[in-house]
């Protein structure tokens, strides 16, 4: 959040609630208050996680999930950034697009999933479409808001030396709005992670979400925790990775508040 390094004491204080939760979990499991069929011990879950991460079948499912995630996120990024910049630069696009976004943004996109299944089938396409529907809006809005905040003098200067309006949008306004665009993308990346998992839980024959549902049907409690932890770790990792990328890309940009 802030650029300065957090003192060691703060880090240690922050570890306390996480340690407490794992401790309580261990306590409940080892005293037998919660039978292993309802709440397996944390050790058992992590051992299974490590075991699964070495298994080719499990990695195959993870790869399927990741493919859907990145396909959806990539498409959403292209759509979101293009429309966001276009809405900023062209009055006609703004007038047509923004009311539409206003109506569609608060609609729960997951409700569209049955429609995607019916029109695009049970395979990858419907899940990717759902990820696009959910991830495009934060990117679009962040791009639009970021582009609106760009100093207009920059664009005027470019146009004064003969750059066309459209080129100016993509070579001047978009780079200047980059911090906001990347923040939108980071939020959308975590959303994509969550959505792809939920879609796989609702209907799928492969992927991490399917593994959770399959384990739930056969009451394999340990195997229910493992995909959930995997997708959460993926989300954390992607978030951290994207933050690092963002910092690299934004070298030279003024520090954000």
């Amino acid at each position: 959040m802030t650029g300065r390094a957090t003192p060691l004491a703060d880090v240690l204080v922050g570890l306390v609630p996480i340690a407490l939760i794992v401790g309580l979990w261990q306590l409940l499991a080892s005293t037998g208050v919660a039978p292993p069929s309802l709440l397996p011990a944390p050790g058992a879950v992590f051992a299974r996680l490590v075991e699964q991460l070495g298994s080719p079948t499990y990695l195959q499912h993870t790869a399927t999930t990741l493919f859907r995630l990145f396909a959806g996120f990539g498409i959403a990024m292209v759509i979101g950034v293009t429309l966001g910049v276009a809405a900023m630069g062209l009055r006609a696009v703004e007038a047509g697009l923004m009311p539409l976004v206003r109506v569609l943004a608060p609609v729960p996109k997951i409700a569209l999933y049955p429609a995607f299944i019916l029109t695009l089938g049970f395979e990858n396409a419907s899940k990717i479409a759902l990820v696009v529907a959910d991830a495009a809006f934060p990117i679009l809005l962040a791009t639009y808001q970021g582009a609106s905040a760009v100093e207009p003098k920059l664009a005027w200067a470019a146009q004064a030396v003969g750059v066309s309006r459209l080129r100016c949008l993509f070579t001047v306004v978009l780079p200047a709005a980059l911090p906001s665009v990347l923040t939108g993308c980071r939020i959308a990346l975590v959303i994509s992670c969550i959505v792809v998992f939920l879609a796989e839980m609702i209907t799928s024959t492969d992927g991490l979400g399917h593994l959770l549902v399959r384990a739930a049907r056969s009451f394999q409690t340990v195997d229910m925790f493992v995909p959930l932890i995997t997708i959460s770790l993926l989300g954390l990792g992607l978030n951290a990775g994207f933050n690092a990328l963002r910092r690299r890309l934004l070298i030279g940009f003024p520090e954000e508040k």
Partner: protein
């Protein structure tokens, strides 16, 4: 421009009309069973809303959503406000929130169902979990930005710490808290629908997927329209409430994007 679009005025209506027209034309052009024309699906909306059983299901869903949302308000706002005023409390909760952030909350449904059963308790808990995070985050941001001097004056006049939190920090942070609540409200609806899709028993998500299984495609699309209208109406209503409560503060953003 954007002010016009933020009011329940003419622009959103035209956007809806355009959407319906595109849908109608696309359905007629493609001509598959899986995509009935808009007119056909919309004809099902009054049928669903006239069916007492469906209404009962929708009322069930809304009740769970309201309970989860209210619980989240009671827990998340105090946590967020204290985090903003005390660095130790912030350091205590921040890493935990960061770890919880990427967990798909609705995906906890099958696990929570093992403990609390398939009924209201587990769904309400999932909604509560989903809604809490943005409210904590925005309350934290709002409370962090409160002017120190006001708090010092209050302390000098003999106001205790908890009174300061309730009577100064809370009102000062209210605009930001309400931004969090608005995101939370959209999230509550999403989590509600998702949890009902995963654990089908009653509710809106249940009707949606049952009609999908029974190939009643008109009903599927009618339900999607109902859920969409519900999401939009809740958002507009909340925005109205927000501008009445904190009309003195500049609106942060016109549009909120629903996240999971």
């Amino acid at each position: 421009m954007t002010r016009l679009a933020s009011l329940p005025g003419i622009a959103p209506l035209m956007a809806c009309a355009a959407l319906l027209a595109v849908w109608e034309l696309a359905a007629r052009a493609i001509g598959i069973d899986g995509l009935p024309p808009a007119s056909q699906a919309l004809a099902q909306v009054p049928v669903i809303l006239g069916d007492p059983e469906a209404l009962l299901n929708i009322a069930d869903s809304l009740r769970r959503m309201a309970t989860g949302f209210a619980l989240a308000l009671c827990v998340a706002i105090p946590i967020g406000l204290t985090m903003g005023r005390s660095r130790q409390v912030a350091a205590f909760f921040n890493p935990l929130l960061m770890v919880i952030y990427p967990v798909p909350k609705a995906a906890l449904m099958p696990i929570i169902m093992l403990w609390l059963g398939i009924g209201d308790a587990s769904k309400t808990l999932v909604i509560f979990l989903g809604v809490s995070l943005p409210i904590v985050y925005h309350s934290y941001q709002g409370s962090r930005a409160v002017e120190e001097k006001i708090l010092w004056s209050a302390a000098a006049m003999g106001m205790g710490p908890s009174a300061r939190l309730a009577r100064i920090v809370l009102p000062a942070a209210l605009p930001e808290i309400l931004v969090g609540c608005r995101t939370g409200l959209v999230l509550a609806l999403i989590t509600m629908v998702t949890s009902e899709m995963i654990a089908r028993q009653t509710g809106i998500g249940n009707i949606l997927f049952n009609s999908l299984d029974m190939a009643q495609y008109d009903t599927v699309y009618a339900m999607i329209v109902i859920i969409g209208v519900l999401g939009y109406t809740l958002d507009v209503a909340f925005e109205g409430l927000r501008s009445r409560l904190v009309g003195w503060a500049a609106p942060a953003h016109d549009i909120v994007a629903g996240t999971t």
